[in-house]
């Protein structure tokens, strides 16, 4: 066990977490769209209180003042906006919610029919996604492979300066020279396996070690990394 790495000092944890947010897509005239919201609130008061709400402004062309007014009007109804989508960043003032990108549609449970519905056409596509990703070619420096849905298997090497991010475990059948981050969605059972370890950084569920922390005795041989409680442990595989 002398080859096992134990890091006792306090570590900074970086974690990803996703929430389902309601998406409001206002249409012109905004006044009558607000009236619709009022009608919904009339039926179930406080429905949006404390819920994350994102404003999608792709369908309307509003000035900075108009956006500020709209955010204010929603705040009066106790609806707080988490972020804004579909608008140029220059239209957003310093005291407005931040610009969001890269959102994906998903189903919302317990939603009344007259509420602005998120587009659900991607729902079925998501279901058919495989829980693991197989990469048959080497991952080159500068490439970033992000697969939050499950395991990532790489048949070649992962170059210095490349990055693999997986929701599940990471398997590398070549040399791991770049960064590997497994279990990013809080999966502490995820592991990292590689045929030859020369990694720049290894992380599982937010606990990480850099190349400096990885002992020389481990270098250049097959190894695995896993979490034992709050300790990231790396051991040789043979």
């Amino acid at each position: 066990m002398d080859a096992t790495q134990q890091v006792a000092r306090q570590q900074v944890r970086m974690r990803g977490r996703s929430y389902v947010a309601f998406v409001f897509s206002p249409v012109v005239p905004v006044v009558s769209w607000l009236a619709e919201i009022d009608a919904t609130l009339g039926k179930s008061p406080g429905f949006f209180t404390g819920k994350p709400v994102v404003l999608d402004l792709a369908a309307v062309d509003l000035s900075q003042a108009a956006i500020a007014h709209l955010v204010g009007s929603l705040a009066e109804r106790n609806i707080r906006i988490l972020g804004i989508e579909g608008v140029d960043e220059s239209r957003l003032g310093a005291n407005m919610p931040p610009l969001l990108t890269g959102g994906r549609a998903c189903a919302i449970t317990h939603v009344e029919p007259q509420k602005p519905q998120p587009q659900e056409k991607n729902k079925d596509k998501d279901k058919t996604k495989l829980p693991s990703l197989l990469l048959e070619s080497p991952v080159r420096s500068g490439q970033s492979i992000v697969f939050a849905e499950g395991d990532v298997t790489v048949l070649g090497s992962v170059g210095s300066g490349a990055e693999i991010v997986a929701g599940g475990s990471i398997h590398v059948y070549g040399t791991l020279r770049g960064r590997a981050m497994a279990g990013i969605n809080g999966n502490s059972a995820a592991r990292i396996f590689c045929q030859k370890i020369e990694a720049e950084l290894l992380a599982i569920d937010g606990y990480y070690q850099t190349a400096d922390d990885i002992g020389d005795s481990l270098r250049n041989r097959p190894a695995q990394a896993w979490l034992e409680g709050e300790m990231l442990r790396i051991t040789p595989l043979n």
Binding site: R140, S141, G142, G159, T175
Partner: protein, 271 residues
Amino acid sequence: MAKVLVVTSGKGGVGKTTSTAALGAALAQMGQSVVVIDFDVGLRNLDLVMGAERRVVFDLINVVQGVAKLPQALIRDKRLENLWLLPASQTRDKDALTEEGVERVIADLKTKFDWILCDSPAGIERGATLAMRYADEAIIVTNPEVSSVRDSDRIIGMLDSKTARAERGERVEKHLLVTRYDAGRAARGEMLSIDDILEILATPLLGIVPESQDVLRASNVGCPVTLNAASSAPARAYTDAVRRLMGEAVEMTVPVERKGLMDRLLRRRAA
């Protein structure tokens, strides 16, 4: 069938321009018709290395923008009649290049030449991506040191994703050319060995060009090393590389300097 080759590296100063000139000349010496294009707009060098700097009238940018016709911009080499140069502009920058313009120029050149060698600028920005954009094959020039190898790895990743071929789902065939190799220093562990480089880059080797004064001397007189010192070690390495490019099976060796008695005497006198 014309072949479009990009000579690229990511890192600067590894020998892209020198290699483009040497490979272009070696191909022409074998009777192929060759054009070398300088994509380093704003920092052009290929014209100097080819010794054509005093004959540049129109350049790639003029042709891309339709100011000049292709035959007006092409410069014929004075030593090899089937070797041509399409120079870059020194007064403009890379933003003057357009994707459509480059595509048109390369399509045009494909009807006239057997080989089109694109000398890529360093970096991974517009100039470098446009130089590789329409390539069929790529020559990745690498020095035996870690920063150069990592940058080459990055460029190989881009060749697999950003080229027109990659976007059509086809492959850009890649060749690795190791330059400035010093067998002595590699043996002493002061340099990455060829095996280390191949292990990291997982790309077939096209040739090993030894570190040599002949390369510098050739660049300074504006003559590709395969013409200026045809029997020198680097010239033989480039010639072997070209024969491999043309499909010949040539044994992979590191050519060494042939030092005669006179050579040694002269060198001592010069020192």
